[in-house]
Subunit: 348 residues, 2 copies
Amino acid sequence: MPHRRPPTAITLKDLARDLGMSVATTGRAFHPGAVIAPATRARVLERALALGYRPNALAQGIITGHTRIVGVLLSDLLNPFYPEALARLTEAVQQAGFNVMLLVASPAQPVEEALRLLLSYHPEFIIILATSLAGEAAGACQEAGTPVLFLNRHSADPRAHAVICDNRGGAAQVADHLIDGGARRLGFIGGQPGTSTNAERAEGFRARCLARGLPPPLELEAGAFTYQAGYDAALRCLGGPGRPEALFCASDILAAGAMDAARLRLGLRVPEDLAFAGFDDIALASWPSYDLTTLRQPLRRMIELAVEWITRSARGEPLPGGIERIPGELVPRRSSARPADTVLETPF
Amino acid sequence: MPHRRPPTAITLKDLARDLGMSVATTGRAFHPGAVIAPATRARVLERALALGYRPNALAQGIITGHTRIVGVLLSDLLNPFYPEALARLTEAVQQAGFNVMLLVASPAQPVEEALRLLLSYHPEFIIILATSLAGEAAGACQEAGTPVLFLNRHSADPRAHAVICDNRGGAAQVADHLIDGGARRLGFIGGQPGTSTNAERAEGFRARCLARGLPPPLELEAGAFTYQAGYDAALRCLGGPGRPEALFCASDILAAGAMDAARLRLGLRVPEDLAFAGFDDIALASWPSYDLTTLRQPLRRMIELAVEWITRSARGEPLPGGIERIPGELVPRRSSARPADTVLETPF
DNA sequence: ATGAAAGCGCTAACAG
DNA sequence: CTGTTAGCGCTTTCAT
């Protein structure tokens, strides 16, 4: 690192000198609670605006221990659910006066190393928004004393907090809906094995099938939450005899792939030959080409809660702890409509 | 801000005391170039690892003026091109040893204010990855002396640098392809008005049509780079008589919407009744349900260049400046195949 | 090769 | 209400 800050910005000292005041007083103008004469504050702020002065957040962070940085970990930006969640989360975090430092995990780069880099900025909070990444990350954060919140996912680690959709309950709603629609042979396509979302959605679906007196659904693991995985899984699942009459996919993107395989490759009609349901309610689910029945995740509420925890934690309050499960909402669409049903709201 | 850092992490002073050395020497162990006995460095690093010490990036940032923070501005995470680009950009930036601070603009929150917050962390570089956001943002950054790079877009501001796809050339390739396919009446659907991507793609397309001796294409503005906008625009464009034989949409997501409108609402066959082409090559373009001919953006190269500029700028080298245009690649798929064509590579 | 000391930009006691 | 002083965690002369 050869040289020092070249375009050295205007500093508090500069501003103070310009105003003929001490740095202390000048600095106080920028803190709402501080004791300072209103007139003085006004003078300072006006001059600051004119000179384009802004307090250096790094310096503030060092001293106060409050960096107002929130780290967000992402592993899978290709499942459209995550970009949608990221966008809304980031907006909310910004709204609350924090900044998001983004960390994208990839096969190429181990999370561990990137996470250490992130932690060296002393984020006040880490949000893990990813299907995987559970244990590896959480450990390092705890070590650094940084609170961690899982969004849409939870880890086995009991110290970690989580805000998630009620996956079991949601899956049960989907089961009820499909069964009420007349389906008797049900199927489930899972995404990435070993994730809580996957396991809970499978469980909830299976349990409700049994509770309604049906045999357990045919269960299949696609291997990942991707379009391609859904496509391939559907071919395996629907190719043979005794195919299900309704297929619940653990996420919308999986359902999109599966539906396309069913229609374009196997020539099945949806929903006449085969009903479909997904989970998440991503944008694509409402497109006329899919018009996919799904369980909408309560993203707004989930994010509200996450931000509430961030701000609380920043105020030094201890976190309530545990896992917060928020119920989702079933959105019935054409992909699971009964032949007789008139779907009132044709999209677009 | 009532209290001071509660879980106060281990600091360089602590580490030095533990080792019985001065902070100066201890600190030097973490700088590859510094003069320090190899044995001493080894001892320090070993102990640091054991105690979990990591230099505080904020403090380093203040002193050296190098924060190793790259700000990324995003306005539109709902066009799938941007999440894909963001993921790859972030990975590359991390790889280069920087951290991404993400800023998402939304109608609710003006960019201006959020940008000021971001700038207070003194990022070394700002990348604008967005259809809009041009002027507002660039100004504030220049003011702060932070170099700005537009990715996939450029502004009128001559001081800003940009790395973009050769939109005109790409659109011309698409025109050639569609014309070679036998189309004579061509149409163009644009996205968000006033963006450089939009304008250049329209121009390139139109120019090539004229150069090939065809009348100028029917041009339509969808208003935004979204599925819905594409859907609606297609209805307007294809409803009347004399509809085009081939439609070039300024982005894939627009094309997806337009194609669905054509097929599902108007009952047209693609490509028999109407050929389609898009721009970007997002994931969806290769799905069997769209199988969309498109112009693939040279994302890898674009990002390589961006990262190169970041690292150079961090080393204090002045930026080469201007707009770097990288050619894209035509990816012919079924959406524009001639009836006679045998599409060899059926997807999946 | 190492250490002492000054200082980055800022906040937080403490006087006055 | 304002200014002085100390110091956050670190880097960087400048001596030794």
